[in-house]
Symmetry: C2
Subunit: 222 residues, 2 copies
């Protein structure tokens, strides 16, 4: 059976899980927390990070970039990175926006400080960083709203990896109740659409020990 | 004429420049510094970041991830992301290592603090971060050495985007004299091989105002 090594609340793992669900690929989840520094994880991925995909034939693919491109190339029946070079460049531009820019400006500051920093034993949360990350989230919500108004989905008229990637990051922050959904109606409506997809519902039913999400977290009508 | 918007010393821009040279693609460089916050850059790339590629037919491709994949798909005559799914996954794993892990653990801490922080008017360099980044560089050099010993080039027997990406990051740090080349002989030899490539020489001849590189910076025999 195909296996995905992941950890809870990681946007990068959520992205790959949603991508595989959207492509109709069966897989088993194996929880592997990078802060446990298990040698078995380093044997699979020398970076000691998740996600890691292990195919039934033994092929190992490590990291969100390599896995997403591998899945698109190997299982092209359902296309999620666009079809023309222009479409593909646009999907990847937005994926990069969320996996780099949003991650650096928001996810690392809010999610890492509030949750993962403790797991890694890296000290107390930095409240200035959390405040800063939450402030920066506003203009990202505006940008999502702008794209969703122009295009229905973020990179065009169809669902792509760009939507999956953005929703994965926001869902992890939303678990902490840190996304001000009232701030931008178009971003709110786009996320409601994403929440109603079966690929996302599988993720939203999960709970992390000791942290309870807000009551609206799972509800597509929020 | 094809144009690449770039800024000096950016590893991400250096990577795309080297990739285009290795693929034999002609282009003109346009210097565009993100800290100037020019509206013309935001019009091309809403992230306000470089690199941005503008093709002669007007196609705009933004960001290192989208540009690298676009070039590989559009100009496949010289392949630099491997041929089989397994090879491609390995190239992308290593690219991700340098563009994310190395960037986060080393480049951001040393290059950003020493050079770009001042350009962005973001305060004085954080000497603890610089020290920390330099310390973390050691295990990355060990990893490069390990791969180079096993494989000739980092992702296999041929030059790929993995080598280009690693060399781009290291070359920017080397400009500041911050790479301890004596530390790992195999990493040193691999970098000497990279330095002798014409794609890299075009980058090494550049100088940034006010910062002089070490005397060995350009020399493949160092």
């Amino acid at each position: 059976m195909r296996m995905l090594y992941h950890t809870h609340l990681s946007p990068f793992c959520r992205k790959i899980r949603m991508l595989m669900k959207e492509k109709g690929l069966e897989f088993e989840l194996v929880c592997e927390n990078p802060w446990d520094r298990n040698l078995s994880l380093f044997a699979l991925n020398p970076a000691g990070e998740v996600p890691v995909l292990v195919e039934e034939n033994g092929t190992v693919v490590s990291g969100t970039y390599a896995i997403a491109e591998y899945l698109e190339e190997t299982y092209p029946q359902i296309t999620l990175i666009g079809t023309t070079p222009g479409e593909r460049a646009e999907v990847r531009r937005i994926v990069d926006w969320f996996d780099h820019k949003f991650d650096f400006e928001v996810t690392q500051k809010v999610l890492f400080e509030k949750v993962f920093k403790n797991y890694f034993g890296a000290g107390a949360p930095d409240s200035k960083a959390i405040r800063d990350g939450k402030n920066q989230m506003m203009y990202h919500l505006d940008y999502i709203g702008y794209l969703a108004n122009e295009r229905y989905f973020l990179a065009g008229d169809n669902l792509t990896l760009a939507d999956i990637c953005a929703a994965a990051h926001l869902s992890a922050l939303d678990y902490l109740g840190d996304v001000p959904w009232d701030y931008n109606a178009a971003a709110h409506n786009w996320y409601a659409l994403m929440k109603s997809r079966p690929s996302m519902r599988c993720i939203l039913i999960e709970r992390v020990r000791g942290v309870r999400p807000p009551v609206y977290y799972e509800n597509p009508d929020f």
